[in-house]
């Protein structure tokens, strides 16, 4: 990687940062000089990612928190602001798939449905709600919600996850209209099918070789966070963003 320092002085908060796309984004943002607030449920894996990000020169705060719990979301906000005083880039990446193998929505347990909505919709809403005030005041901020193909297309078995991502797209769409002209950008990004724990759990029969590498997809998020690409607010596809971004490798 030859690009460096495009996020120097910026503070990025990434949820679900211990694995998969979240981890890849943390390391890519660190390479660009961002300071990081990394959050996940598992503290050990999170500390490992933090150590790698620090090797790239980042100041890193780790917060072990469960996005299903309102109190944990507030604690994350408080500790992030206490450490860095602001958050410039918020990536709502943490997602819950629900039980695997994926049960049909017609068989979905209501309580589990509610849990998936808490993590995938309520937590992003609450985080954005909490951090938006400062972003609007500074007229500066980038919010990226990790969406999915299933937000717009229906597939058997993807019920709760699909509904939650559609809701997240809806939040993004409405907020995009409300935030126009404020200097705060909001996007929902479909990262495409990636070779991650979550995808393997959801679709175990997929050939990993046919799936995108999260490290490559993370560059689409870097491009958005740095403003290298500056599309209209709303829903985007990572693969399209990568075509418009300058090549990250040399």
């Amino acid at each position: 990687m030859t690009t460096n320092g495009k996020l120097t002085g910026r503070v990025a908060l990434i949820t679900g940062a211990s694995r998969g796309l979240g981890r890849a984004m943390a390391l890519a943002f660190a390479r660009e000089g961002a300071d990081l607030v990394l959050c996940a449920r598992g503290e050990d894996e999170l500390k490992q990612v933090a150590a790698e990000a620090r090797e790239r020169g980042s100041n890193v705060l780790t917060v072990a928190a469960d996005m299903a719990l309102t109190r944990d979301v507030e604690r994350l906000v408080v500790l992030a602001l206490e450490r860095f005083d602001r958050v410039d880039i918020l990536v709502n990446n943490a997602s819950q798939l629900g039980p695997t193998p994926l049960p049909y929505l017609i068989d979905y347990p209501p309580h589990v449905f509610s849990d998936v909505m808490k993590v995938n919709v309520m937590a992003p809403f609450h985080l954005i709600w909490s951090l938006l005030g400062g972003m609007i005041q500074r007229r500066d901020g980038v919010i990226i919600n990790v969406s999915s193909d299933v937000a717009v297309n229906g597939y058997p078995g993807w019920g709760a996850y699909s509904v939650s991502k559609a809701a997240l797209d809806g939040l993004t769409r409405t907020w995009a209209t409300e935030l126009t002209g404020t200097g705060v950008k909001i996007y929902a990004v479909d990262p495409t099918d990636m070779n991650t724990d979550m995808h393997r759990a959801a679709v175990p029969e997929d050939d990993p070789a046919s799936l995108a590498d999260p490290a490559d997809i993370a560059e689409a998020f870097v491009a958005l966070a740095t403003g290298v690409v500056d599309p209209a607010l709303g829903r985007l596809e990572a693969t399209q963003l990568l075509k418009h971004a300058e090549p990250a490798g040399a």
């Binding site: 507030e74 408080v78 602001l81 005041q137 409300e178």
Partner: protein, 345 residues
């Protein structure tokens, strides 16, 4: 230190139903749809409107100064040496030391005496050793704490709720829309009626916002007679360069809340200019005092005995203030942090 006597509005004049027990949104209206009383000192007139119409009383180039301190769930349970539970309410937090109220965990939250030398357990990682009573405010206990406690407060605490708020209103209702770093024991509530939509429309009409920070302490020590003595304690505040510059530049500075007044007046020099400052303040402001940096005030309505009224007397003379409070009661304005609002111009 005691402040001078307050405006003698009898507390019994305030009917209980005028104490706002729930935030506007749980009363079925938007946060910016609470009522607003506009007290115009120049014309000595009082008018009544709705908070979202406040722009009609403001001018382009007016500067609103807001306190961005975020409210903590500041009522934290701690286990005593004998296994019983007390609720700690930290009023002043310094590195390694809290000055905290110790009360019963259940309503009416009466004060509980601690034993000097006793160790309280707050979490598996955090203890607090009782050093003794704070000499100037004996209901506060000096506690040597093993951590700063922010994580513990956020993990274990509940918002401090007074008896007029019977339901367990969640913490997010105690936050202003522009809340940033956490540190207030109680919500700096004057800014609560502002919505982001309202702030954006004010900004579009040329009314700017500057941010200061003042972490509030406790408004009550859970003892009426003691509260009536108006004990003063120090609060941490931060006025940064952009806010100081904006205040010095603005033709009219409107403080959102008495906390913003105290921060700006502490940071103001004799020449009336505000300098950037991070410090503790225990500035008391009362009638007859010259206000140097602030021209107008947005504030909630608070208990007629509250020292809050002392500060208002620095803005409004007693007859006009009395008229405003009489009209508020007559027109059934709602009191306290979830209540209606006043603009003193």
């Amino acid at each position: 230190m005691l402040s001078p006597p307050v405006l003698d509005i009898a507390p019994q004049k305030l009917p209980a139903e005028l104490r706002a027990s729930r935030p506007a949104e749980l009363r079925g209206i938007r946060r910016d749809h609470v009522r607003l009383m506009v007290v115009d000192r120049a014309s000595r007139t009082i008018s009544h409107t709705r908070f979202d119409q406040i722009g009609e009383h403001l001018r382009p180039d007016d500067l609103l100064v807001v306190n961005t301190s975020r409210t903590l769930p500041a009522a934290v349970p701690a286990t005593r040496a004998d296994g019983s539970i007390v609720q700690l309410r930290a009023c002043v937090r310094r590195p390694g030391q809290w000055d905290a109220l110790s009360v019963q965990p259940e309503a009416p939250h009466a004060n509980v005496a601690l034993n000097p030398g006793e160790e309280l357990r707050i979490s598996a990682r955090m203890t607090a050793r009782v050093l003794g009573r704070r000499p100037d405010i004996p209901l506060l206990w000096r506690l040597a704490v093993s951590r700063d406690g922010l994580e513990e407060i956020e993990t274990l605490g509940e918002p401090i709720r007074y008896s007029y708020v019977p339901d367990p209103i969640p913490l997010d209702f105690y936050q202003n829309v522009y809340a940033g770093r956490a540190g207030s024991a109680e919500m700096p509530s004057a800014g609560r009626p502002f919505s982001r939509q309202l702030l954006a429309s004010l900004r579009a009409s040329g009314v700017e916002t500057a941010e200061i920070l003042l972490h509030t302490g406790l408004s009550s020590f859970q003892d009426d007679a003691f509260d009536a003595e108006h004990h003063l304690y120090e609060e941490w505040f931060e006025v940064d360069d952009p806010a100081a510059a904006a205040v010095n530049r603005a033709p009219r500075v409107i403080a959102v809340g008495t906390t913003a007044v105290r921060a700006l007046e502490t940071a103001a020099g004799a020449d009336g200019r505000v300098r950037p400052m991070h410090d503790w303040t225990s500035l008391a402001i009362h009638g007859g005092q010259t206000i140097r940096a602030v021209d107008a005030l947005i504030t909630g309505l608070h208990e007629p005995t509250a020292s809050h009224l002392d500060l208002l007397r620095a803005f409004v003379d007693e007859p006009l203030l009395r008229q405003a409070y009489d009209e508020a009661i007559e027109r059934r304005y709602l009191w306290h942090e979830f209540g209606d609002s006043m603009l003193l111009l």
